[in-house]
Symmetry: C2
Subunit: 200 residues, 2 copies
Amino acid sequence: MASKAPPIDKRRQILDAAIRVFARQGFHSTRVSDIADEAGVAYGLVYHYFKSKEEVLNELFTERWSLLLAAIDEADAGGRPPRAKLEAVAAFIIQSYRHDPELMKVIIVEVTRAANSFGQTHLTEIRRAYDSIARIVEGGQETGAFRSDIDPAFASMSFYGAIEQLLSGWIFDLIPAADSDFAKAKDFVVATICDGLEPR
Amino acid sequence: MASKAPPIDKRRQILDAAIRVFARQGFHSTRVSDIADEAGVAYGLVYHYFKSKEEVLNELFTERWSLLLAAIDEADAGGRPPRAKLEAVAAFIIQSYRHDPELMKVIIVEVTRAANSFGQTHLTEIRRAYDSIARIVEGGQETGAFRSDIDPAFASMSFYGAIEQLLSGWIFDLIPAADSDFAKAKDFVVATICDGLEPR
DNA sequence: AGACCGATTGACTGGTCAGTCAATCGGCGC
DNA sequence: GCGCCGATTGACTGACCAGTCAATCGGTCT
């Protein structure tokens, strides 16, 4: 295992280059040669590390989405009130965007919202996130913190959809993205959805 | 004008076929010949009526999106309370989906959420919808019906995002789509967002 | 009849890439 | 020094498809 340790990890280099190029041009209009050029690597090397252009995208998605799934589970694990759990989820997603906007752009634009092409492939994993959020809502309903006349699946979709749309807004410069806006946006989404979910 | 009136409008036939094919296979993986075949028309005729495959999609989008813009404006025009205005908007979008799910799938998946390719082209029109919704929120803030400490643009994005995500859920069979679910979903979105927007 | 013209047809072309593969490199063990 | 093997290179190929275009059809007007 320790036997192989080239000074620069070309595989990683290719993945990082792919993030930049996919974010810039979109998956469909990037040629494999664009990735190779951006990575400063020969064309063929991409195929040494990945089966296809699609596998590069898959890898990027899976890498980050699994973190999201873990974060949601962790948010649900603590004995916090459901509102705090949802806030943790929102915070994680928004933080992910601030940390690496290009990667999040790729994931949202090319996978999550491209449910025809790649979304199809990853529907199960995407769905797992919605389900986990729904479970948080359900938990809140059981303790009486949230009212029970709302389908948790609806609530989950609305909550996630609102957040994703905010990210889209930032990605495409539709809403202000100053430092303070991120925190404000998070508070707003949590406030609206939760105020709607809590008993009157 | 009345001089040309072929019994069947081939142009319309092509557009309707395109809706079906785009919905089934997605824009990128439908060949122009698929559209022609589905429409029962020769390949070249598509190019007689449209400049390119992309123009077919543009036409479909513009046709329906202008209805949405009109509906939002109309919702805002009446002297109703802002909550009722937002409800009218949600109702229109959901009704659009019930009326022609395939067309809405195409618009959402291929344009609205494909902000790299076509979204770019139509960003102005898409943005107009967000802006109009934001104006409704702003109006509510002015009369004191909504609290003023929330950026109307954020509220607009969250509101629209929540609805679009619900449509996505129906499109991809992630949430139940029985007759009663549509009304329930509409009520829920309006309730949550508005409850969050109204003063405590 | 016959000229005119938009509607309609579908074979064909040009360009674009994804993926292949044979060749070369370079580090390591013996 | 030599052989082994994974890493790396980039030229090449085969498939695919958007868009072109020359030919034909069929209705209408004179």
